[in-house]
Amino acid sequence: MRIAVASGKGGTGKTFVATNLFNVLSRRGDRVTLTDCDAEAPNDLLFFRTEKVSVKEVTHQVPVINKDVCTWCGRCSQWCSFNAIFFVPNAKVIEVIESICHGCGACSYACNDEAITEKPLTLGTVTSYMTDKNNPLIEARLHVNEISTVRVINAAIKESGDEGVVILDAPPGTSCPFIQTVDKADFVVLVTEPTPFGLSDLRQSVETLKEMSKEPAVIINRSDIGDRDVAGYLEKEKIPLLAEIRYDPAIARAYSEGRLVTDEMPELASLFEELADKIIDRYGTGSSKR
């Protein structure tokens, strides 16, 4: 089964939950994969001892215009819905703005003069690692100054397969990168914090998931730093509350140094083990056992 760990608001503890969930399942010998889908800010790797297995570049095809053949008809520019072809016919200027091209291929089709060929443009990488407990960790990483996050995420999810349990550490927000990630999950865990910002973003995530016919469950992180409005909202909406994790400077410190609390704090290890059981027993499809 695929479990997405997501949140509308950034910094609520997605990576904290995803890495520790992965860790408790790894430790007990389950077949589990962690996929870091936060391609703009991937951090899961920091928490594990790993060996690199493979690196794949994620590319899409962008047009190359041969100006010697071009008849300056302008069809390619008309067919481009993203304004990625800058065209000034009188001055005979035609340039592809690669950074905003979506690689749809419409311009190549539109060109009647065979003036357009295509070349691959690297958007990011998908790197596979193996942890010291012999479980795969897949990282999606967007290149700086590229914008097609979704393609890199999709490639990483594909790479992860669907054997055993696959944990997807989702990107923040509720736009395409989030949707592409949760769309491929059997179950979505939303991590939030009990503050007005946390609640507002949680609400937006829940509404988005509802439109996708997905029913999430929630973890409230740093559950004692704010008010009870999030808990009240969950009750009213009948959204299951999976766990509450209290604020503890020791957790913050371990996290800051790339250490896993489930390795050092027994009460959190049992909290995460129970959490894993709850998710797999209640929402699981298939078995995670090897």
Partner: protein, 288 residues
């Protein structure tokens, strides 16, 4: 002058810092460019005087009554958005990027492009000036274009109201909306935290920001979570030539203020964190 607050990593305290700056001194325009998770309006309760529809993009819809299932659209779509199920063409709204390619090549004109019109931009007043913000509807694309629309509106509003400072609250990450937020601004302020993730993400957003401005300042929030990490972040910043604007202590009163709908400067003006934030803000705006 336009100042943008960004972070790379989410949840480092961008919006809390922005809220404090926005209430620290002279009247100004605040623009919330985190259009996917706009939050500042919760603190500032702006009174809207304009609401505008933002069309982020289009998605393809097929009329199965006209469709002859020739499969042309399916074979040309590069986003795997078009599939054939039980002899019928199905277009996935989630995967469609709105390129119009399929609608243009369909031999029987069975595909129409439908605009996504649920996103909004608002503009109004709040207690210390004017506020502009965008709210991208879930699943909509092109958040960078909405950020541009918010920034253009903020510039007009600043001019109309004779305000000199525009403060932008940016989105997390390093993608399209972040690039749109930092392009052409006068100063970029990176709010980070002393964690390995905070450092890694700061480096990535720094790489984006330095393409657009040499004036980058860094604030380390919750510095006392890990002082050794704070020191190494500061060391990195100095080596990069970034200005170290200050360190902020972890203070639960920031959350307390947020719950009361206020910035920490408004609610606890005497707190150490408020004094430091005010000092940073005065320095940032000294030449305006």
């Amino acid at each position: 002058m336009e100042l943008a607050v960004v972070s790379g990593k989410g949840g480092t305290g961008k919006s809390s810092v922005t809220a404090a700056f926005a209430t620290a001194g002279e009247r100004l325009v605040v623009a919330d460019c985190d259009v996917e998770a706009a939050n500042l309006f919760l603190l500032f309760n702006p009174e809207h005087d304009t609401e505008q529809v933002y069309i982020g993009g289009y998605s393809a819809v097929v009329d199965n009554a006209l469709c002859t299932v020739c499969g042309m659209c399916e074979s040309y779509c590069r986003f795997d958005a078009i599939t054939r199920v039980d002899g019928k063409i199905i277009i996935s709204e989630r995967s469609c990027e709105g390129c119009f390619f399929c609608s243009r090549i369909c031999p029987v004109d069975a595909i129409t492009m439908v605009p996504g019109d649920r996103s909004r931009m608002y503009s109004g007043s709040f207690r210390n000036g004017r506020m502009v913000y965008g709210r991208l509807a879930p699943g909509e694309e092109n958040s960078g274009k909405l950020v541009n629309m918010v920034r253009n509106k903020a510039k007009r509003v600043a001019k109309d109201h004779g305000m000199n400072i525009i403060l932008l609250d940016g989105p997390p990450g390093i993608g399209c909306p972040v690039i749109s937020t930092v392009t052409g601004v006068d100063k970029v302020i990176i709010v980070t935290e002393p964690t390995m993730s905070g450092l890694g993400d700061m480096k990535r957003v720094h790489e984006v920001a330095r393409k657009f401005t040499g004036d980058i300042g860094v604030i380390i929030n919750k510095y006392d979570l890990n002082e050794a990490m704070t020191d190494s972040i500061e060391g990195w910043c100095i080596a990069q030539g970034n200005a170290l604007l200050g360190r902020l202590p972890y203070d639960r009163r920031v959350t307390e203020a947020m719950i009361s709908g206020k910035s920490v400067i408004e609610m606890f003006p005497g707190a150490e964190i408020s004094i430091i934030l005010k000092r940073i803000w005065n320095k940032l705006t000294a030449n305006v």
